[in-house]
């Protein structure tokens, strides 16, 4: 895991540097084999805020999040739920203390997210649309700039 972090950082850095000039769209992605073709932002929000645990197909959803301080994460939650990162953190902290529900796993960088989605058929994640060039994942929602 540690090596993948370093790798992600190495691979991701130049991309990030390019990104600020023209902020890219955010693509919500699932495993290519996932029968879900399209998701609304509401559906995405319910998955990311723990309201839904499964896709419409009934398949258990493995939700991954970007790094805690990643700017894309802030944009993502703003777009799907209108909540700021602070609000999201507060929301989850309420749920976490019950001990039953855990927030989505945080992965640093698009490549780590991509890698996770590629490997897990039930996974869902989001990445910058510019970095997306993979046939093993499927874009189900594009959050436009």
């Amino acid at each position: 895991m540690r090596s993948s972090h370093i790798l992600g950082a190495v691979l991701g850095l130049p991309l990030l540097w390019l990104a600020p000039a023209a902020q890219a769209d955010i693509a919500v992605i699932v495993h290519a084999a996932n029968p879900v073709q399209q998701l609304t932002s509401r559906q995405v929000a319910e998955l990311y805020l723990g309201r839904s645990r499964t896709f419409t197909s009934g398949q258990y959803a493995q939700v991954v999040d970007q790094g805690i301080d990643d700017p894309v994460r802030s944009r993502f939650f703003k777009d799907i739920s209108g909540m700021s990162i602070g609000q999201v953190t507060a929301f989850w902290s309420r749920l976490k203390f019950t001990g039953q529900v855990q927030p989505p796993q945080n992965l640093d960088g698009d490549s780590a997210v991509l890698e996770f989605v590629r490997r897990n058929p039930g996974a869902i994640g989001y990445v910058s649309a510019t970095t997306l060039a993979d046939a093993r994942v499927k874009t189900v929602l594009v959050l436009r700039e």
């Binding site: 509401r42 929000a45 319910e46 805020l49 723990g50 309201r51 799907i80 739920s81 209108g82 909540m83 609000q87 929301f91 309420r94 749920l95 019950t98 001990g99 039953q100 529900v101």
Partner: protein, 543 residues
């Protein structure tokens, strides 16, 4: 008398206490009811507010619980809500209506219905989207108990406040009003009416009602003193005057009597009874007192007519009246009668003033006797005879009776007078008078000495054709023919010629009768003396 002020003060205080207590009680009743109503309203309104506040407090947590349908969070929220004693029930439901978590107090299950409020839970993602409900029900019993507790607490405070105020009022009243009043009352009691004593104004009350009361009481005392002083002086004057009059009343020789309309004695002075009437007051019996006039006067009718005259004329009337005396002696009083007439013209009082005129009356009687009687023989003289005859004629005319007059002239008297002297003549005249009186026995008849040796007999109540007159005349002639012994052992003889006239046969008047009798007497003389002659019948005589 001595306890009265204490009673008064206690009374006033108690009165105030009772009224204040009653007032406080009524006020507390009304205020308590109003207050309870307010308290209940406020309590319920406060409960609603609290309900909303509680909901607002847990809303976001509840929303999260509903959003993720998390029972743990829901329980946490509900348990938190239930920790407030006012909350009877709390429930969080999801958007599909299923209950995520619910809790309620068993004992207040039924009381929740009306107070339950549903709060919509908005989605954390989109606040306008309802993703569940939060229901909070309140415990009415608890609210009521709280309200009641609050109401009672406030009522107690209110009652305490009023009670203390009332107590303070009563105590103050006692000190400020009752005690000074009581003090004044005691001083008023201590003051002797009419003395120079005056009330003091209790300290600190100079300018209030109590001061005014004292001031006015003092003015009243001034007036009382003045009035009493005047009355005392007046009474002294009246007493002096009374004493004066009493002394007059008691020491005067004039008898004073006050009688009622029936002639009963009401009052009299000592002179009347002891000196004038001659009886002692303690010896007088009730009956004597009640018929005083009838008891003391010989002729009560005279006094009653005086009273009647005085009543009619409304003036004093007076008359000499003879008093009845124990020893039969004559006693005369001059009696002045005044009558006090009441409003309905009835006699209220009879006042009589009596003074002894016995001596004067005796002198008068002597004078009258002297005028009417012959000093030598004691018989009536001409004047007395004429007075008697006039009266007898009036009576005879009124009663339709007859009356006889005899004119008696002595025969041979002048010779006795010339031979034996005047004293012998006088002795014969006295003897003639005695013999005539001895034969003219009827009290209604009269023997009089006309003058010189002429005598007159008036015989009343003579029947018509009565022989009694002639018999009497014959008897007189006989009697006077008898010899008279005179001083010096001598015996003289005289005679009498008598003329008889009758009323109304021989004359209607005294003059007529006397003239007829005179003519008859001369007839007897002419016929030879020592005889009697009747007047000429049916001979009208003028005068």
């Amino acid at each position: 008398m001595a306890e009265a002020p204490t009673q008064f003060r206690a009374h006033l205080k108690h009165k105030l206490a009772i009224r204040v207590t009653l007032g406080v009680f009524l006020f507390a009743l009304v205020a308590g009811a109003l207050n309870a109503w307010f308290v209940f309203n406020r309590q319920y309104s406060a409960a609603r507010t609290l309900q909303d506040q509680l909901a607002a407090t847990v809303r976001s947590s509840a929303a999260v619980a509903a959003f993720v349908k998390n029972e743990e969070i829901a329980r946490d929220v509900v348990t938190g809500l239930m920790s407030h004693p006012m909350v009877a029930e709390a429930r969080i439901t999801a958007d599909n209506g299923s209950t995520i978590y619910k809790s309620s107090r068993a004992q207040s299950e039924g009381a929740v219905e009306g107070t339950t409020v549903r709060y919509s839970l908005g989605s954390p993602v989109n606040a306008t989207e309802v993703i569940g409900q939060l229901e909070i029900g309140l415990d009415e019993g608890y609210i009521n108990a709280m309200a009641l507790d609050s109401a009672i607490r406030q009522l107690v405070v209110l009652a305490l406040q009023i009670g203390i105020s009332a107590l303070l009022l009563i105590v103050l009243f006692d000190f400020v009003v009752a005690r000074p009043l009581n003090k004044v009352a005691r001083r008023v009691e201590a003051v002797t009416p009419g003395s120079g004593e005056r009330l003091e104004v209790p300290r600190g009350h100079a300018d209030d009602e109590i001061g005014s009361l004292v001031h006015r009481s003092n003015l009243l005392l001034d007036t009382v003193q003045r009035t009493l002083q005047e009355e005392r002086e007046l009474r002294a004057k009246v007493e002096a005057m009374e004493e004066h009059y009493r002394r007059i009343f008691e020491t005067t020789n004039v008898g004073i009597m006050v009688l009622d309309q029936h002639g009963s004695l009401i009052n009299s002075n000592p002179a009347l009874l002891s000196r004038i009437v001659g009886i002692r007051i303690d010896g007088m019996q009730e009956a004597d007192s009640s018929k005083f006039i009838d008891t003391i006067f010989v002729e009560p009718a005279v006094v009653w007519s005086l009273i009647a005259k005085a009543t009619a004329s409304n003036r004093s009337t007076s008359e000499d009246c003879q008093l009845r005396t124990a020893d039969g002696s004559e006693r005369w009083v001059h009696c002045i009668i005044s009558v006090v007439v009441g409003q309905k013209d009835q006699i209220e009082l009879i006042e009589g003033v009596l003074y002894d005129v016995t001596d004067r009356k005796a002198a008068e009687d002597r004078a009258r006797r002297h005028a009417d009687h012959d000093a030598l023989t004691g018989l009536r003289n001409r004047r007395g005879m004429e007075f008697f005859l006039d009266r007898s004629l009036r009576h005879a005319a009124e009663d339709g009776e007859e009356l006889g007059v005899m004119l008696i002239d002595l025969d041979g008297f002048k010779a006795v007078n010339d031979t034996y002297g005047h004293e012998a003549g006088d002795q014969v005249l006295v003897g003639v008078a005695h013999r005539m009186l001895a034969r003219v026995r009827r009290s209604s008849d009269l023997v009089a000495r006309q003058g010189g040796d002429e005598f007159v007999v008036v015989a009343t109540h003579c029947g018509p054709g009565d022989q009694a007159l002639q018999e009497l005349a014959a008897d007189l002639v006989r009697a006077l023919r008898e010899p008279f012994p005179i001083a010096g052992g001598e015996i003289v003889q005289i005679g009498a010629s008598i003329g008889i006239a009758r009323y109304p046969t021989h004359g209607q008047t005294r003059h007529g009768l006397m003239a007829a009798a005179d003519a008859a007497m001369y007839e007897a003389k002419r016929a030879g003396k020592n005889r009697y002659a009747l007047a000429e019948p049916e001979k009208p005589i003028a005068g």
